[in-house]
Symmetry: C2
Subunit: 320 residues, 2 copies
């Protein structure tokens, strides 16, 4: 009997990566193409299809494809569309599921945004297995999130729920790419941390190796490394970041009362440097009912996360 596999596709601004994963989480084969090569999305899909088939040929014997999941920026779960994604070449409404469906008649195709896919990935393959209520926070260039309640992802009425990065935590605060000010992601993303390092250099006189690095060359990794070496500017940067994140998470706990909050993405790699003070600030700001009830954990997905998330989406659909 053939073994069932799901195909996970991660559509990013530069690359589209995909992989075949079975229900137990075995990563069987993968491939990728350039996302931005084709002006016409139909040409892109044709190339993607051919590449997928080529990779599937290597495992086709012994495997049946039972579902396709897609993670994409501005992905709308309900409609299966990618809507006005600024990082993609087709900045319009793309009916991605329907279009891919034409190549795979009879096989369920579903789509959501990257952070929601990460949440489902954690639920199906990672540390949230068996949990019914948790929050996934992705700390990358921006901040994404996926909220799971009653065992289901909260997509909301329009399919775009879970924008934790765009709750306003500081009215009239930092300018955000979304056109507003003071969004959480201007403080706790990789970019936000960099902005905070500059704030700290303006505020304090401490000598710091960060003072010799221009803004455009600094990364959250540089700041993390400096902090581990005892650099006071970098340490204060992480303290401030943890304060902003911990306060926001305490507020989210009051709303959805999760069993755990998972952090994922570049900044989460800072480990204790981020987790310890964030947990402290979360507890300090927590409504008493929730004190010491909510775990703050690193994601257990570490490799090919986006592909795992997309494949998990496919498995999760089949379960429903």
């Amino acid at each position: 009997m053939k073994k069932e596999v799901a195909l996970g596709i991660d559509i990013g601004g530069t690359n589209t990566a995909f992989g075949f994963i079975d229900r137990e989480g075995n990563y069987l084969a993968d491939g990728n193409i350039l996302t931005g090569k084709h002006e016409d999305v139909h040409d892109y899909l044709r190339e993607l299809y051919l590449e997928i088939e080529k990779v599937f040929d290597t495992i086709r014997e012994g495997h049946t494809l039972i579902g396709i999941g897609i993670g994409a920026p501005n992905g709308n779960y309900y409609k299966g569309t990618i809507e006005y994604a600024v990082n993609l070449r087709w900045n319009e409404v793309i009916p991605m599921c329907d279009m891919l469906q034409e190549y795979y008649p009879g096989i369920p195709v579903c789509l959501t945004n990257d952070a929601n896919a990460a949440a489902i990935g954690e639920m199906v393959y990672g540390g949230a297995r068996g949990m019914k209520d948790f929050i996934m926070v992705t700390l990358g260039t921006g901040v994404g999130s996926g909220f799971v309640s009653n065992g289901k992802l909260i997509y909301g009425h329009d399919g775009f729920a879970g924008e934790l990065g765009h709750i306003i935590v500081s009215p009239n605060g930092r300018q955000c790419g979304c056109g507003r000010q003071g969004c959480l992601e201007t403080y706790v993303s990789a970019t936000g941390v960099k902005r905070t390092a500059y704030k700290m250099m303006a505020k304090y006189n401490y000598p710091s190796e960060l003072r010799s690095i221009p803004f455009n060359e600094m990364t959250s990794k540089t700041i993390c490394e400096a902090a581990l070496k005892g650099d006071l500017i970098a340490i204060n940067t992480f303290k401030y970041t943890a304060k902003m994140l911990g306060e926001a998470l305490a507020n989210m706990v009051a709303i959805t009362s999760p069993e755990a909050i998972f952090l994922m993405g570049g900044l989460a790699k800072a480990g204790d440097l981020l987790f310890v003070p964030t947990k402290d600030h979360m507890e300090m700001n927590m409504l008493k009912n929730f004190s010491n009830k909510v775990k703050l954990l690193p994601s257990q997905l570490t490799q090919n996360v986006a592909i795992y998330g997309a494949a998990a989406l496919a498995w999760n659909e089949l379960k429903q």
Copy 2:
């Protein structure tokens, strides 16, 4: 054939009110007892049972009791308990469902907090009929809330989710009854509005009829009436309240992307005075994706709201 009815019980600090309601929302009979009369919760329940039976006798012919729902402060849905409710005489963990169950063997008994019951009431009998994603906000002495996503109430891991009144909207802000500072309910509850009126009298020189009313005698209704007469202190009070509420609601929209937000309770009776500027501030602070998508509506439940909510909880359980 007998018609099915549910019993809704609203346990308040002073009174316990109950009523029998059918699936269509017909309010058939009701009664009440004093909550605080008995030191022992067993004596309280015995009196409540006898009173319920007396009232049920008036409609027993032709009706079958199919479920009991209870709305109570600090009610835990999962455990059926009331936990450390400061306004009740039994400030401990009361296994209310189990205790009532002994009087009604075989009939499902369930319990949740007042605001969650209000949300389910709106979903079963009110303006949220047919909605899968909405938020109910109760603006009373405090601020309560119930979040519905994917057609289900978000109880969270521990059963205490939906504490919108206790998200911190102003770090180091107003002192809150919960022991922290800057919670939303210190600004937008009936009490919060009063505090804001005093802030406005401190800030501005405008003559105002509110200046002749001591703090302890002022109510949100007084302030509302003054505002309708053009009193500038009262008008600025509502503007500030609407700003705080609108900003918080915009953040909540980014998380759960509801179809509508319902406002209920004393302060919601201020009508346009509250709804118009709150909607304005909500839109001003909204992530663009959600602009003009989310309705801000008054609850359609106006009479015996808490009893309707508790009965709706019973109906909702049977549906699952």
